[in-house]
């Protein structure tokens, strides 16, 4: 029999037939399947679980439910794992954080004694003068403060992924309220998704062994049995999808919930939201309240019942509500001595079953008493308890000592209302209940259970029922009509129960222990004490949002779960305001820390490939990324490929060009409107260059327009711009009544440009079409077959040689490429890539939109005035261009040649008198000229042909001359051959 564990318990979640072994700081720890790492460590005698953020004080288990920072450790290389939630697995490697050389003996604990040097906000006051001190100080501080460390050398974690789900009613919280709400909604026909973050459904009922009364059909049953019944009912309903264990970390616009289950992020879109998230138990503030051995009451219950771990030998229970009695009874049932129960209330409800049991056993129950201080070296050894006066303050000099090794705190709950704040609901302080509770709900949001501030199972079950029915009814489900009367009855019953509940509430003002030099912690995550908050308020940070940001209270891993109420209470007290007036800070997602890996999920990098992709790879091309497209940079060398095109014939894959098929009676009208050139006069079978501008006359894109029929055009756009151009056209057509329809056929056509003096000779072997210059002149198009494949041929020439752009159905692309290469073999055909194309086009001064133009370039300045038809009635950008023409151009895109053998790059500055006045847009070495050529934007004053330019490059100045005409074949004779 394992003596480290208590006897068998009906609520246990461990399986003692399955042993699991893991290592902790070099020690082998034996645990059971179902254990959490923290529970197993506690059973093995570990009491210090971490060292605090700033002072390196020893910290032990406090909440056992993932809401405080005390149990954070490094598990299998992942830092900041909440070991109180982490299930044990065979072979886990667990290491402590932020403690050296060990948790037991941390060298930096000396900082605790240096607190005078490190007051609140010290980094705004100290270590900042003289200026050089701070960078040094910062490095030291970064190393000694903080939580876990990320291992930068570790392999990226695998397995993160996303998924998308849709539902009608999302119920967050699988406790009694959520289970009842899910059941009701599902029975009325709604599609329900239930989300719960615990290993099993049932919420806090899982750990309650006492019986409940006043809960209709469940009266007399123990909490864990009620949980079991509700759980089984819900699991059997086909309309309920259960996501567990998973936590909803935020509610976003449009009913979108972010839910994390392990490494999976679920985007859950819901029509209705039921928030049944319960509440967090939080600790009171008193000197040394952070000692190991100080635990929340529910934490003690979890250790006892779920994991059968003995939390201590002699306990003090501190409470101000009836739950404390449950905890005390549970301790007694586990044969743990309860030294006393101190209750801050003045009068107790004697009919309470647990209170009666405790009195019967003889456990001292002290009303109007509270804890004044915890004492011990690295662990609780004794407590000071004191009676309270009428104002709730400890009576001076009346404290007495109680020896104990466990202090159970059951003094307050805060509703877990963050999701409500994020979904458009309003929470406010309820003075009777003493908690910040939902006051006004958004129309699609419902609440039930402890989150309402009422901690009473009869009320919880009714609230759940009402929420479920109302959520289903609001969806307009027919079956919900019939439940209307049942709902009304329940609402009446609930109102009465809540009225009674409020009558017997006794709220106590915040108990403030007198200061005695020992730290009283408000925020355990950031080591913020009560003194720190009072000092901050005194320094002027007296609004709750300012106080938070200055002191960093609630900004740690727990995000205020443990410290929100205390910090609000202290702020209220120090500023003389009420809690309602003080308000709360904004609760933003994520409510619980979420790893960046989970948010990123699987990384998608959409890649576009042309129909000829495999050809390039097979030819050994060096591939490059052009936006999302993969294109060949070069097959051999750009210079060799350039030579092939100029002297013989080359073939390039231009499938990436955007291609739009435009049909409709008003197609020509739309083109005239959007382009600066005129297209309604374009004859069928002709091709024209087109530029489109925006309203301010700035170039958006350029391309070619081919007229295939009266109401049928084929447009090409710059690679990567087709989606934009399509949308641009559509936005101008929308609402205009024009009959014009565009279809993106970019990927449907494989396109290749056959260019060079021998292009005609090659192509004529593959088609019957008359390709001679008179029959097929420059800037015309025709349909034919090429290598047996139906093709559209465009006679255009980006690279400045006689050539054809051959467009064929993508599935036949490889066939045609192979046929062309075969036919071209005897002529010395060479495939050429993007780089060679860039050089070839630059020699012709053909511009590339986006490379040579930017967000300020107009066609007039880019030397494309010939493409702007001012005599057109109207086109997008006309007004601006007319205006520009009248005012005069201020800059111009010019060609230049460098005088000597130097090189410049795109982006290099054009200098006048030592100051930059322009920039180089593109530059390459021209094999034709044997020198570096380029395009540059220069002010009009120096834009004349022949003007010398100074270009700044690599710390030196290169001299160049402006060349007005294209560098190669300025009259375009080769193009038209």
């Amino acid at each position: 029999m394992d003596t480290s564990r208590l006897p068998s318990h009906p609520a246990q979640e461990i399986d003692c037939t399955q042993k699991v072994t893991f290592s902790f700081a070099g020690r082998q720890i034996t645990a059971y399947a179902g254990d959490t790492v923290a529970a197993a460590l506690y059973a093995a005698g570990v009491r210090i679980f971490s060292r605090s953020f700033k002072y390196h004080r020893p910290r032990g288990l406090l909440c056992c439910s993932g809401r405080c920072p005390n149990c954070l450790m490094n598990v299998d290389g992942t830092p900041n794992v909440r070991t109180c939630l982490e299930p044990v697995r065979e072979g886990l490697q667990v290491h402590p954080q932020n403690a050296w050389p060990s948790l037991q003996w941390d060298a930096l604990a000396v900082i605790d004694k240096l607190d005078r040097l490190l007051p609140i906000g010290f980094y705004y006051k100290t270590f900042i003068q003289p200026r050089f001190v701070w960078p040094l100080a910062e490095q030291v501080l970064r190393r000694i403060a903080g939580l876990g460390k990320v291992d930068h050398q570790a392999q990226a974690k695998e397995g993160y992924d996303h998924q998308y789900q849709h539902t009608e009613v999302a119920v967050v919280g699988g406790g009694p309220a959520g289970l009842v709400a899910a059941r009701e909604a599902a029975l009325l026909g709604a599609r329900v998704t239930l989300i719960d973050d615990q290993p099993a459904l049932g919420g806090h009922l899982r750990i309650q062994t006492a019986a409940y009364t006043g809960v209709s059909e469940y009266t007399g049953l123990r909490g864990l049995d009620i949980a079991h019944r509700l759980r089984e009912t819900v699991k059997s309903l086909p309309g309920v999808d259960i996501i567990s264990p998973a936590f909803a970390f935020g509610c976003y616009e449009g009913g979108l919930l972010g839910v994390v289950r392990g490494k999976r992020l679920i985007h859950l879109r819901t029509k209705r939201l039921v928030v049944a998230t319960g509440c967090y138990e939080y600790p009171p503030v008193f000197p040394n309240n952070d000692l190991p051995g100080v635990m929340l009451g529910s934490s003690v219950q979890r250790l006892l019942h779920l994991y059968r771990v003995k939390p201590g030998n002699r306990a003090l229970v501190v409470t101000n509500n009836d739950f404390g009695f449950r905890v005390a009874c549970d301790l007694v049932a586990a044969s743990i001595e309860v030294a006393a129960v101190v209750d801050a209330r003045t009068s107790l409800l004697e009919h309470n079953d647990q209170l009666q049991q405790l009195r019967a056993i003889g456990v001292p129950i002290l009303a109007s008493y509270s804890i004044q201080e915890a004492r011990g070296r690295k662990h609780v050894q004794e407590a000071l308890i004191a009676p309270l006066d009428a104002q709730g303050r400890p009576v001076a000099n009346a404290a007495r000592s109680l020896s104990c090794d466990l202090i159970c705190l059951s003094t307050g709950f805060v509703p877990a209302g963050a999701l409500l704040s994020q979904s458009g609901c309003r929470l406010a302080y309820d003075a009777t209940l003493g908690e910040i509770v939902p006051q006004q709900l958004a129309p699609t949001v419902f609440t039930a259970g402890d989150v309402s501030g009422v901690h009473h199972l009869p009320a919880t079950l009714l609230q759940g029922q009402i929420a479920g029915i109302q959520a289903a009814a609001s969806l307009g489900l027919p079956a919900a009509e019939a439940a209307h009367d049942r709902c009304t009855n329940s609402q009446q019953e609930l109102a009465e129960i809540e009225r009674q509940y409020r009558l017997q509430m006794q709220t106590r003002p915040l108990v403030s222990s007198p200061r005695n030099g020992k730290k009283q912690f408000v925020c355990l995550c950031e080591d913020v004490t009560e003194t720190d908050l009072c000092d901050s308020v005194a320094e002027g940070f007296n609004e709750i949002e300012l106080l938070k940001r200055y002191s960093t209270v609630s900004m740690g891993p727990c995000q205020g779960k443990m410290c929100a109420m205390a910090s609000i209470g202290i702020c209220a007290r120090e500023t003389g305001r009420s809690i309602a007036e003080t308000g709360t800070t904004t609760a933003r997602p994520p409510i619980q820390p979420v790893s960046l890996g989970v948010l990123a999920g699987r990384r998608y990098h959409p890649v576009k490939r042309t129909p000829l992709h495999s050809k390039h790879v097979a030819l050994g091309a060096e591939m490059m990324d052009l936006g999302e497209w993969k294109r060949p940079y070069a097959y051999t060398s750009p210079a060799e490929e350039h030579k092939a095109v100029r002297e013989r014939v080359g073939l390039i894959d231009v499938s990436t060009l955007g291609k739009l098929d435009v049909k409709g009676r008003d197609a020509a009208r739309l083109l005239d409107k959007v382009y600066t050139h005129i297209f309604s006069t374009l004859p069928v079978g002709r091709v024209r260059y087109g530029i489109m501008c925006d309203d301010s006359g700035v170039i958006l894109d350029d391309g070619t327009v081919s007229r295939l029929a009266e109401d049928h055009f084929f447009i090409t756009t710059t690679t990567g711009n087709v989606e934009f151009v399509e949308q641009w056209f559509k936005s101008w057509a929308a609402g205009s009544g024009m009959c014009v329809h565009l279809t993106n056929v970019t990927a449907g056509l494989a396109a290749m440009n056959l260019a060079g003096p021998q292009a005609r000779a090659v192509l004529s072997q593959l088609t019957d079409l008359d390709l001679s210059a008179p029959a097929f002149p420059y800037l015309t198009c025709a349909h034919s077959t090429v290598a047996g494949v139906p093709a559209l041929l465009l006679r255009i020439g980006f690279v400045g040689e006689s050539g054809w752009e051959i467009h064929v159905p993508a599935e036949c692309g490889e066939h045609v490429w192979d046929a062309v290469m075969k036919a071209g073999h005897e002529f010395g055909i060479a495939p050429f890539g993007v780089e060679a194309q860039r050089i070839l086009r630059l020699e012709k001064k053909h511009l590339i939109v986006g490379q040579d133009t930017d967000a300020l370039s107009s066609p007039l300045e880019a030397d494309m005035g010939w493409a702007v038809k001012f005599d057109k009635e109207d086109f997008v950008g006309k007004k601006a261009l007319v205006s520009l023409q009248q005012q005069g151009l201020r800059q111009k895109l010019v060609g230049f040649v460098l005088r000597d053998g130097s090189l410049v790059e795109g982006g290099s500055a054009v200098i006048v008198n030592g100051k930059p006045v322009g920039r180089v847009a593109s530059a390459r070495v021209s094999p034709y000229l044997g020198k570096c050529i380029g395009l540059a934007w220069v002010p009009m004053e120096i834009a004349a042909d022949g003007t010398p330019l100074q270009i700044h490059t690599n710390g030196a100045i290169a001299l160049a001359d402006i060349v007005g005409s294209p560098f190669y074949d300025p009259e375009g004779k080769r193009l038209r051959a």
Binding site: D161, H162, Q163, Y164, Q165, H166, T167, R191, H267, R269, R602, Y604, H605, P606, V607, K608, R609, T610, P611, S614, W629, D661, K663, G664, R665, C739, H741, T743, N744, V745, T746, A747, G748, L749, D768, A787, G788, V789, P809, A810, E811, C812, E814, H815, V816, A819
Partner: protein, 243 residues
């Protein structure tokens, strides 16, 4: 001039070869017949989820305010698909004899995509062109067979797989059989059509041909947790027979 009939290859041609597919000719297209054993492929699909390259199917895009008038002769009034619905229909060619089966996907009030078998797209296009001419209004037909790639996901986990990659609401009640919707799938624009095969859940995903390889690999990658398998034409026939 005498040239060999051009072979048509889908964008996934080399991906199939890399998986060891045995390719066969289907109406001029190269398609994977099988990757291993067709019976095993079919079984794996029925147990989990399978992917099939169906890119050769004909895709005829019909746009325009009066495109619904083109459809009217093809359906009885209450069978005409509404936006978001897909419906099977028969197209008759001009000889009055040949009948071509097509799935008419109504993408919007003015936008239809007609899907036909790989061998019948020319006939279907001709038949639809006749209807367009009769309407003689704002209705325009474009053949997108080459421009769109298509992958079929079949099997009980096909929906789970797709739900990892798209925010479209694919709940069975919201997206019943013969529903179509456009949206983002793995961050590329796509059309999703639910077209169950008998009792097997099945979805057809249409995307730009340029993204085909990316989408195929992403589907296979995301499908690993469901043991997704590629399946060929032989297994496809087995699944349709069993339907």
């Amino acid at each position: 001039m005498a040239v060999p009939r051009p072979t048509k290859r889908t964008a996934l041609h080399y991906s199939h070869l890399a998986l060891g597919a045995v390719m066969v000719d289907d109406n001029g297209w190269q398609r994977p017949e099988q990757y291993g054993s067709p019976e095993e492929e079919a079984q794996a699909v029925r147990a989990g989820v399978g992917l099939c390259d169906i890119s050769p199917v004909g895709k005829l895009d019909l746009k325009g305010k009066e495109s619904v008038r083109v459809l009217e002769p093809l359906f009885s009034p209450d069978a005409l698909p509404r936006a978001g619905q897909a419906q099977w229909t028969i197209l008759k060619t001009s000889d009055g004899v040949t009948e071509v089966r097509g799935l008419c996907c109504r993408l919007g009030s003015d936008h239809v995509l007609m899907i036909t078998g790989p061998g019948t797209v020319a006939a279907a296009e001709q038949a639809l062109k006749r209807h367009v001419e009769v309407v003689d209004g704002c209705a325009h037909l474009t053949n997108l067979t080459s421009a769109l790639a298509a992958v079929e996901l079949v099997g009980p986990y096909s929906r789970n797989l797709l739900c990892k990659l798209t925010a479209l609401d694919l709940s069975l009640s919201q997206f019943p059989d013969l529903t179509c919707a456009q949206g983002s799938v793995a961050q590329v624009h796509a059309l999703v059509v639910r077209a169950d095969i008998g009792s097997e859940l099945a979805y057809e995903i249409y995307c730009g041909r340029e993204f085909a390889e990316y989408l195929w690999h992403t589907l296979r990658d995301a499908g690993q947790e469901f043991a997704a398998v590629p399946f060929g034409a032989a297994a496809q026939r087995l699944l349709r027979v069993g339907a």
